[in-house]
């Protein structure tokens, strides 16, 4: 496992906790407890927020995408105001970010990145993967997106425009991938199950397992 962009001067993070408490883990605990003692945060706030974080997975984004595929009016509302349309489906935003949904078409392929740090549509996708937060992806997405996508196995023909959207603290993006062919008989639930996190970042397309397609048609 390589989750770092540097040579190590600290113990591997896998060893954090256990018999030798990790310095940074102790710092986290100490900061949290001091803030609670000062009554700046409540004792339960962190645990509650962890529950919120755990409740956010790409399945929520998949639900949004599938609804947009089957309901043109919802799709229009989603593209007009991403956050509001997600809230329609009961997805709450626990921060004050706005969401812009970018639609892939035959002519345009969208990709999202945060070149400054790691901004990501967390309310609908959960936490970003490490590679999204590390320099190679952030540096290259805006410079050579076509080459980068190729490394994900995604070949975008030259005639298709690639649009890269750079997230900010307040504005987050979500890619609305193209609905795959041969999914006419899929239910909304079956469609949602096809939509992966990486497809909503824009690094891959949504694909149908041929066997799955056959099954849905029957």
């Amino acid at each position: 496992m390589n989750t770092h962009e540097h040579n190590h001067d600290h113990p591997p993070i896998e060893e954090a906790g256990g018999t030798a408490p990790d310095y940074f883990e102790m710092m986290e605990t100490a900061v949290r407890e001091l803030l609670i003692e000062r009554r700046l945060i409540e004792p339960d706030d962190i645990r509650r927020q962890i529950e919120v974080l755990d409740s956010r997975t790409p399945a929520l984004g998949g639900k949004v995408v599938a609804r947009a595929w089957v309901d043109p009016e919802f799709r229009a509302r989603l593209l007009a105001d991403g956050r509001h349309a997600c809230e329609e489906l009961g997805i709450t935003f626990y921060d004050d970010t706005s969401l812009i949904v970018l639609e892939n078409t035959d002519a345009v392929h969208n990709l999202i990145v945060c070149t400054l740090c790691s901004c990501y549509p967390r309310p609908v996708l959960g936490l970003p993967p490490d590679w999204y937060k590390l320099k190679p992806y952030r540096a290259r997405a805006v410079k050579e997106p076509r080459a980068l996508l190729k490394e994900f196995g995604t070949l975008i023909p030259d005639e298709v425009e690639i649009r890269v959207s750079d997230s900010t603290a307040m504005v987050r993006y979500l890619v609305l991938p193209q609905r795959p062919e041969n999914t006419v008989n899929f239910t909304e639930e079956q469609l949602a199950a096809l939509v992966t996190r990486d497809a909503m970042i824009g690094v891959i397309r949504v694909n149908v397992d041929p066997a799955q397609g056959k099954e849905a048609v029957q």
Partner: protein, 125 residues
């Protein structure tokens, strides 16, 4: 624009278009303390104690030497401490003392397990 002047257009933490190491598709499950650190960031933002922009600028202000040595959540917790010092909310001495307490206590078991027994189940949003 000459090369030196061009450098002025690049923000301290700007990576877009910069040279980089080869791309690797890395992922890991967050450690419990990393997840707590993430939750702390959200809570600090919610209470308007430290917002996302302050956190990002704080990471930039760590300087390139420290930034490459610390991993993602190590940077965050260090930055939270620094900003809390700057805002006069905590002092370095208080934090050092509390960390000593925590270290003494941590040898008796998992900190978070104990924490999980506190409080209800309702959500923040």
């Amino acid at each position: 624009m000459n090369e030196l002047a061009n450098l002025l257009t690049i923000l301290p933490n700007e990576t877009g278009g910069q040279d980089s190491a080869p791309f690797e598709r890395t992922e890991h499950e967050l450690l419990p303390w990393e997840k707590r650190c993430h939750a702390l960031a959200d809570v600090l933002d919610l209470y308007k104690i430290i917002n996302t922009e302050e956190k990002r600028r704080g990471v930039e202000a760590l300087g390139s030497n420290l930034v490459v040595k610390l991993n993602y959540y190590q940077r965050w917790i260090v930055v939270f401490a620094i900003i809390l010092f700057q805002k006069g909310i905590l002092t370095p001495d208080e934090l050092a003392k509390k960390m000593e307490e925590v270290e003494a206590r941590l040898s008796f078991g998992d900190e978070f397990e104990a924490m999980e027994h506190v409080g209800g189940k309702e959500q923040i949003c």
